[in-house]
């Protein structure tokens, strides 16, 4: 199954990759990991909750994106994911 990929690895952006997974799983690679890991994790969890998405693996490769960038990238990825996987 092709993963959904949104974003880029440019500085101040992030690359979000969504793949189907039996349960929700989040992996974060970030150049600001030490300072913002908890914040990045929280924003991803909260957006997945908003869209009630459980069976997904989220890979966030972050190059120092601000929170709204992460949200925008992830939201786009979630909408595409739902379209492809016919999730309501």
């Amino acid at each position: 199954m092709n993963p959904i990929v949104v974003g880029s690895l440019e500085s101040s952006d992030c690359l979000i990759t969504l793949t189907p997974h039996p349960s929700r799983k989040i992996a974060i690679e970030s150049i600001v990991y030490d300072a913002y890991h908890d914040a990045i994790h929280a924003v991803i969890m909260s957006l997945l909750d908003d869209y009630n998405l459980q069976r997904v693996h989220v890979l966030c490769q972050d190059k120092g994106a601000l929170e709204y960038t992460i949200k925008a990238r992830l939201k786009t990825a979630i909408l595409r994911f739902k379209e492809v996987h016919h999730e309501s």
């Binding site: 600001v32 030490d34 300072a35 913002y36 914040a39 120092g64 994106a65 929170e67």
Partner: protein, 467 residues
């Protein structure tokens, strides 16, 4: 003068033993082949417990990495380091210590005998048969040899390495009386890496806003005037500030006194446009600067001692009115870090940061408020490179902070329309975008020290903690 054509013959003439102290300069920057040539030979000869005094270390310096991996280097004292050597030291440390000095402090320590150099291996782009040397000509021309001058005078053995030997050299920077031998090689290094080309003036809207703020701040502080002495680096924002200065000087028919430090095309253009009297050049940053040094009589190649030795009462930077500098981090006490990043990776070092900030009447830090989510303002910097008492102004795209101890500057700005805030307010503005970082500590074993120009230890360096 003894002239060698073979490295082996040269080494037979030298007291190469374990525990040797050797020095190099960094004027060939990331094109330097000379340090690699010498350290490769040290490696072949299985020399250990080396003490190295390069003025800077760049990614090209891979032979040093091999010696580090072998455990053959005991200690390193330098002004700036990045690349694989920096990464290795940040992970493993050294048997003895890493000492980060300033450009002026390095010169002072050599002259005062704190730093004792057994052999100075000096890459010299043009050398005459008597042993006089300079950097402005030859296939590996790099311009001023400012950071090698004290080495040439005070090392027990001074060796010139060149790929351009001539009969007679006019206006040398290094004099034959200090030189023991010359080694002639095919090439000093990689031309592309020696001259970085022209540094681009920033076009980024954030950078443009910062530069405009800094230029206006300089003006409102009354710093733009006849005979003003100015230094700016080769960063894109600094160059834009220099361009603003040029336009203002031109419009008001003013002429600056001198520009000092690392010289670029921007500075040369202003000399040739008759907007500044003299360039005091310790290091050329591009080809234009090298060519100008050759032809413009008011473009002077100077030594680190002339430039910034704090014990030299005639040092050029003592007369600076304003210096424009960068920062990787700046804290609520205005301490600046350009040595490590916020995650304890070694990324550079003072160079002349602390020297010029300390001497200049006004020091201005130009930086974005945050870079890739990391706020540049911290409650406490990861490493102190320049003490906050020597930093006067912080200019960002979203506001300016003045060191509260500079009540004189604040008074001059009492009616300004510039966006002046406290540094605490600017930090909170950054947090509005980035969020407040969680607390973390990435410092493990102590591996070295940061030494200010007068020899005072102002901070310690640590290996980076593994996650």
């Amino acid at each position: 003068m003894k002239i060698y054509r073979s490295l082996d013959d040269l080494f037979e003439s030298l007291p190469v033993v374990n525990g040797l102290s050797i020095s190099f300069h960094h004027h060939l920057r990331n094109g330097d082949g000379v340090q690699n040539l010498i350290l490769k030979k040290m490696n072949e000869l299985n020399i250990t417990k080396l003490k190295l005094y390069p003025s800077a270390i760049f990614p090209v310096h891979t032979e040093m990495l091999k010696l580090l991996q072998k455990g053959a280097i005991d200690a390193i004292t330098t002004n700036y380091l990045n690349g694989s050597v920096a990464e290795y030291i940040a992970e493993h440390g050294l048997p003895n210590q890493l000492k980060m000095q300033t450009h002026g402090g390095r010169s002072r320590a050599i002259i005062e005998g704190e730093t004792i150099i057994d052999i100075a291996f000096i890459a010299a782009p043009i050398v005459d048969e008597e042993g006089n040397a300079a950097g402005h000509d030859g296939p590996s021309a790099c311009g001023s040899l400012g950071y090698a001058i004290e080495d040439s005078v005070y090392a027990k053995h001074t060796i010139l390495i060149t790929d351009h030997l001539v009969k007679k050299l006019e206006q040398p920077q290094i004099f034959s009386q200090h030189v023991e031998a010359i080694l002639v090689v095919d090439s000093l290094g990689d031309r592309q890496g020696i001259v970085s080309g022209t540094t681009a003036i920033t076009k980024d809207p954030v950078g443009l806003r910062i530069a405009a703020n800094a230029a206006q701040l300089m003006d409102e502080l009354g710093l733009i005037k006849e005979g003003m002495n100015f230094q700016s680096g080769a960063g894109g924002i600094s160059l834009k500030v220099t361009e603003h200065l040029k336009n203002t000087l031109k419009a008001r028919k003013l002429k600056a006194g001198f520009f000092s430090g690392g010289i670029t095309q921007s500075h040369v253009n202003m000399l040739e446009d008759n907007l500044v009297n003299d360039l005091y050049d310790v290091q050329c940053f591009d080809l234009h600067a090298i060519q100008s040094l050759k032809k413009n009589p008011h473009h002077h190649a100077i030594s680190a001692h002339d430039y910034a030795n704090p014990a030299n009462p005639k040092r050029v930077i003592k007369d600076l009115d304003v210096v424009i500098l960068g920062a990787t981090e700046i804290d609520l006490d205005f301490n600046v870090n350009v040595t490590t990043d916020s995650y304890n990776t070694i990324i550079g070092g003072s160079g002349g940061h602390s020297d010029t900030a300390t001497d200049s009447r006004v020091s201005i830090i130009v930086t974005p408020l945050f870079k890739a989510r990391t706020p540049i303002i911290k409650e406490r910097v990861n490493t102190i490179t320049t003490l906050g008492k020597n930093i006067d102004c912080l200019v960002t795209e979203r506001g300016i902070a003045i060191n509260p101890k500079r009540t004189d500057l604040l008074a001059k700005l009492s009616n300004t329309h510039l966006p002046i805030y406290t540094i605490e307010t600017l930090l909170n503005k950054a947090y509005e975008y980035t969020g407040v970082p969680q607390s973390y500590d990435l410092k493990a074993q102590k591996i070295g020290v940061v030494e200010d120009r007068d020899g005072t230890i102002i901070d310690t360096l640590h290996t980076k903690k593994r996650r």
